[in-house]
Symmetry: C2
Subunit: 327 residues, 2 copies
Amino acid sequence: MGGDHAPGCVIEGAALAVQRGGIQAEELLLVGQAAAIRPLLASHGLSQVTLVDAPEVVGMEEGAATAIRTKKNSSIAVAMRAVQAGQAQAFVSAGNTGAVVAASSLVLGRLAGVARPGIAAPVPTRSGSGPCVVIDVGANIYCKPEHMVQYALMASEYSRAAFGKDRPHVGLLNIGEEEGKGNELIQAVHALLQAAPLHYGGFVEGQDIMGGEFDVVVCEGFVGNAILKVAEGLGAFVREQIQSAFAVHPPTAEVADAVKEAFRKLDYAEYGGAPLLGVSAPVLIGHGRSRPHAIMNMLRAARMAVAKDVTQHILERLGQPAKESVT
Amino acid sequence: MGGDHAPGCVIEGAALAVQRGGIQAEELLLVGQAAAIRPLLASHGLSQVTLVDAPEVVGMEEGAATAIRTKKNSSIAVAMRAVQAGQAQAFVSAGNTGAVVAASSLVLGRLAGVARPGIAAPVPTRSGSGPCVVIDVGANIYCKPEHMVQYALMASEYSRAAFGKDRPHVGLLNIGEEEGKGNELIQAVHALLQAAPLHYGGFVEGQDIMGGEFDVVVCEGFVGNAILKVAEGLGAFVREQIQSAFAVHPPTAEVADAVKEAFRKLDYAEYGGAPLLGVSAPVLIGHGRSRPHAIMNMLRAARMAVAKDVTQHILERLGQPAKESVT
């Protein structure tokens, strides 16, 4: 039920994942208002999907904490409980991000040793060496230095599992590259990262996130959220400018396709959503505007995280012996 | 001597300003290593320009505080003293931003009533209603709520003078638009802005800065610097992607020009640099990569700020009766 185009778009994404994404319909558990979803499943040939009824819906603009407290039968809460109960191994949603984060902590629980879960957003890079993971992009707007070091460790594990980086190169977002730059938080994190068991490369400035030198960029949640949204706005702005230009001076079909392909690299939908790292099962958070292609890629990312046991790797990396949840 | 292409590029910019920017050569006072600059002035027909020798140069990566303390005869320090002494009415540089900010406070001094100067960056907007001024983009990385309210007031005055906005619409950058979103700093600033004599419109998210709804967007200096640099990096990334696409599928000259024109709207060079607001004379800070066209536009912005007496308007807005400097 989550996202601006739910539930139709989510179901189309599930169908796409089965047709083209290598996912079996039997692997899918869809949670939402059954009466609305059932006919859509039939028309998409998804009869093998398990459907779980959840009568309530958390709106995209609802306060997260209140929504999770009061709507015990929202699709987010019910799906999260299904994961906690072992009926599913991972959670995917294009719904209210705050509510997903809150439900993850409340229902799944944080991994032992994790102080704060963080949202890791994969962004495209110039080098073609795969996405750079930016963490945190909005789960935690009161970041302490130790939280940010944990983000570096967790995102390194994710980069390894999801993007095949053997030794992820970690940078710390700052407003200059020279030693001494930045505020007290940045200085404290910098010292901790230098001492941590990481391939830490120091400060990175915003213009270099997409340069391909870094596989992981750590930042405070407010900053990460702001830069992600600015990037989104700017991408849309440039696309509009070029579309206006093309309206006056129409390009050949080949040129138009080439430009479209150039913009495709920027598309969030290509990267399988943003994982919430640090909770006891894979949680993938998608853009509210997610289209079927994005939903498919989120389902694939969730499956990859389960197959590669990213959660267990994070747990081991953070130095805890057993998989247990701390709430 | 400031910027990646100085002094040649700065002198070319001065020449361009005289040829095409409506600036008289007699109005210009160029400060730098006279032996290097003099021959360039002659070859650009700038014999009417006043040349002031400054033997030292602050490097682009030098620590600002140290540079200003130790290099009393750098072009930044000498030019700033020329403004303070009344030999010039405004300061323009594409040099070390930190050093310009430090020298502005030390030599010119803050305007009475101003707690912290802030850098205001004009960014393009979709609506065609003129740039949106984002403040602060890096002068102050320890922003307090009262600093940010002053930024809103100062940037409103700049928006009025530079871009003709009668009643600038002010937004506060946040990670959501709903009441209650954001951290404690944002909540405190929000309350103060609601009570301030401003046309305050509430929270704005990163993707909406370029939407045209807001004329001024206030943010903390670290965040503002980060979003500006991310925007720069993304703009370059998209441009590269499209250039690569065009290398394979060459567009017609008309289409190529149309795309170039679309990117021109994004170009920092169009907006005349970023003013440092809150010091006792107009100070325009340019990108280190400033080309002659950008230098010309900075000179024009400086002249506009003098002609419209932006400094006096800011002083009056902040409630101080007389123009005096507080260091």
